[in-house]
Amino acid sequence: MVELASFPTLRSRMSAGWRRLSKLPFWAQILIFVAIASLVPISQAIGVSTEYWTSIGVSVLTFAMLGMGLNIVVGYAGLLDLGYAAFFAIGAYTTAVMTVKLGYNFWLSIIPAIAIAGTAGAILGYPTLRLRSDYLAIVTLGFGEIVRIMFTNWDYTDGPNGVWNIPAPLDPWPPSIAGIDLSNQSAFYIIGVGLVLVAIVGAHNLSLSRLGRRWLAVREDEFAAEAVGVPVIRTKLLAYVMGGMWAGLAGAFFASRVSAINPSSFTFQLSAQVLVLIIIGGLGSLGGVLVGATLVVGVPELVRSALPNVQQMRFLVFAVVLILVMLFRPQGIWPHVRGRDAPFVGLEEELEKKEAKREFKVEPAFAPGEPILKVSNLSHRFGGVLAVDDVSFEVYRGEIFSIIGPNGAGKTTVFNCVTGVQRRQRGEVEFNGQSLDRKWLRFRFPLRPHEVVKRGMARTFQGIRLFKQMAVFENVMVGASVRERSWPWQALLHSPSERRDQRRALHEARYWLRFVGLEGVAGRLATQLPYADQRRIEVARALASEPILLLLDEPAAGMNPTEKLDLMNMVKEVRKRGVTVVLIEHDMSVVMSISDRVAVLDQGRLIAEGAPAQIQTNSRVIEAYLGRDEDEEAETAEPGLGARI
């Protein structure tokens, strides 16, 4: 190890460098960016470089703005978008029309450009977001082409000729600062840096907000995200809207900068270039976008200036560089790492004290027989298999209720039907006195899983479904997000009330991680932890939504006896806080020792229900597990099971 460390490869040294840079506070990173960016106009001013290179810099900035936006769509929310140029075009045309046709100045056209491009994002997003990602690729590609062709055929903007004489941001142009005359491109460059800063700060704020975590959650596991309270469709839609807004900003800037635009500037090639730059840079990483933009614009230009005779070679070389970068560094040049060393440092002690005094209804006085969950006549069919067959049961407030049964008995399907993950085909579910169906005329619409979470029912999964590339505390914060109140625009500006909301969510996360005994590893990635701990994170994530009913799907699976004991204590502790618990479990020692009542499913039917002692002696249950007495094989094969039941 020591020897290896003393000869760091170029690659490892590079990663270490990026990591050190990523660890700097955000404002310091911004200062570094501004310092590096200012080299370009300064070097032109002192004659080291020419206006040509400054204009390349302006192109880099335009691509950086685009990259920041597409990074939201692809990097954060995980939606493949191959038609991103459409939003860029819409922004550019908005500015062109407003300035040239309607006579407004450039600055007044920025907000409409952003707004209209964002609206276009919603229009594209709404009908298409239920599609799988590969299909989304072609639909977005088609959208990009449609928008371009529409501009080509739009007579108002002169069709393929486009709009000319788009004014510069200021009059007189180029302006002078403190008596120094700027060159044309330097002035655009300075404005561009300002707009890129806006784009970076906005994207950074979003990535750390509730919305940002929800995007990541959807990217990592859409299904689990919905089940812990994330409204998936709305979250994805917001990604498209935000992505569109960033492109609108870039488009406005681009239109003013090139002063004449036409539809041929907004082809699929442009969309592909932006996608390439965010992936080369490192998906999800803002620094990566800047690096990627520099490479994607810079490499072809370097080739052009190095080999002036072979103009056509530049994209050939670009393609080769692109492929090589991907082969040797598929995660990108500046990959994004989501873990954090000490997530809870800096939380104010004052809140901490309040937290300690937090009151729970310990051992709530529940009237025996008051149901919190009432399932009646639930049936569910998969093709020819009747997985759940006319099941009815009630769970009482404050109890620990177990559902057991052989494999394939329909236990998880019952959970899925109750939480709305599976659309209920027949039967009713009443939770906390209210039906979990929305009724309209004679139709019934089961509540979506995230709405069920909001009503106070949380769940975990049979196979662990954590958000893998997110830190542990962030996983739990996603669970807490149902109770956050801030709006996307507040997240964008990182407003005081949003900060308070964030701090509260962070506190919740800390509280529940402490509750399951994992506060110490809060900053690690979820996948870096051992199996039993991952299960406990799932429990903490579910509890963070402050449910009154918790559904645990085989929580003890794969745990050793000590871990099982911990788990049982934890479940009891949860119940003490006034939460009713329903669990599916195979381990009879767990079930029999902590349950107040047990229900047994076999082949979709409820065959027994009652106190553990009754279940253990129920002849139908023994039959379901062991077969009939005549069937001697089964009995001899598993002699231990009878004793365990």
């Binding site: 239920r130 299909y135 639909v139 080769v320």
Partner: protein, 299 residues
């Protein structure tokens, strides 16, 4: 009415080409879940390979059928070699790593092929030799040229051959098994790497056939041809349900017809808008495409 029939004939011919290219997208997608962006450009490479044989090497003076057969055969070899090369160099090292990274290398390969052709053959349109006249069968005002009839038949024959290959040969069955479950297929003793390579060769063969036929039919080609054909073919594959072989064939013919009707009855300017509009509508109503199956997910 005669217009309608004429548009149908033209649409089916173009649609058959799209279907051939779409099959390449669909086979590869079915097996490795990769949208092979370079596939459209492979068609362009096939067209240029055929062009080189017919024009540069002057084989155009041989009897027509023989000349075309040789051109197609050589184009097939060239595209197969290139496609397997791309697979081994640009995609295989990234399998099991990141699908997005492969998508980017595929985009890179597309740019690479286009610009390689641009550098070798130039940016101008290259005329394909007029080996096939415009003679044909006339029914009143409607004409089905012999070229259309022959090319449509060849395309159909190739599609049937491919379909039979996947249904009745061992390696075809292995291919379908692989599409369903990589690990299970590997455990059953299937040589996964070889089957993937075969899929890429099959795609390349069909692309080369389509490329040469497109060249002969439209009588001109340029380096950008692959992108345009590829876009429509990819659309066809998705419309039919990507991963589904009969779906890609039906999707290709459908896209060809839609395009032809739109150009005939409405306007050529709105052709692409119309085609993508139909695609988006179909996907909204049936998110897996016309013939695609729902992919089950265990919870």
């Amino acid at each position: 009415m005669s217009y309608f029939i004429q548009y149908t004939i033209n649409g089916l011919t173009a649609g058959a080409f799209y279907a051939l290219v779409a099959l390449g997208y669909t086979i590869v997608y079915g097996i490795v879940r990769l949208i092979n962006f370079a596939h459209g450009d492979l068609t362009m490479v096939g067209a240029f390979a055929g062009w080189t044989i017919l024009v540069t090497f002057g084989l155009g003076r041989l009897p027509v059928a023989l000349a075309i057969a040789i051109a197609v055969a050589i184009a097939m070899v060239v595209t197969s070699v290139i496609n397997v090369g791309i697979l081994n160099f640009a995609y295989r090292p990234l399998f099991n790593k990141s699908l997005l990274a492969i998508l980017i290398t595929a985009l890179g390969m597309s740019v690479l092929l286009q610009n390689a052709a641009l550098n070798i053959f130039g940016a101008t349109i290259q005329p394909y030799p007029h080996l096939l006249g415009s003679a044909g069968v006339d029914f009143g005002n409607v004409r089905a040229s012999y070229t259309q009839i022959v090319f449509f038949s060849i395309s159909c024959a190739l599609m049937v051959a491919l379909y039979s290959f996947t249904q009745f040969t061992t390696i075809g069955v292995a291919m379908r098994a692989l599409a369903m479950d990589h690990d299970a297929a590997r455990l059953m003793g299937i040589n996964v790497d070889r089957v993937i390579a075969v899929a890429f060769v099959l795609g390349a063969i069909l692309a080369a056939a389509a490329g040469v036929m497109i060249g002969l039919y439209y009588t001109q080609i340029d380096f950008f041809l692959g992108f345009l054909v590829g876009l429509r073919a990819f659309t066809s594959a998705v419309l039919g349900g990507i991963g589904n072989i009969p779906g890609a064939m039906a999707g290709g013919l459908l896209i060809g017809l839609l395009e032809s009707y739109c150009a005939g009855y409405l306007s050529g300017r709105w052709q692409d808008v119309f085609v993508f509009g139909v695609l988006i509508t179909v996907l909204i109503v049936k998110p897996t495409g016309l013939f695609g199956e729902r992919v089950a997910e265990r919870m």
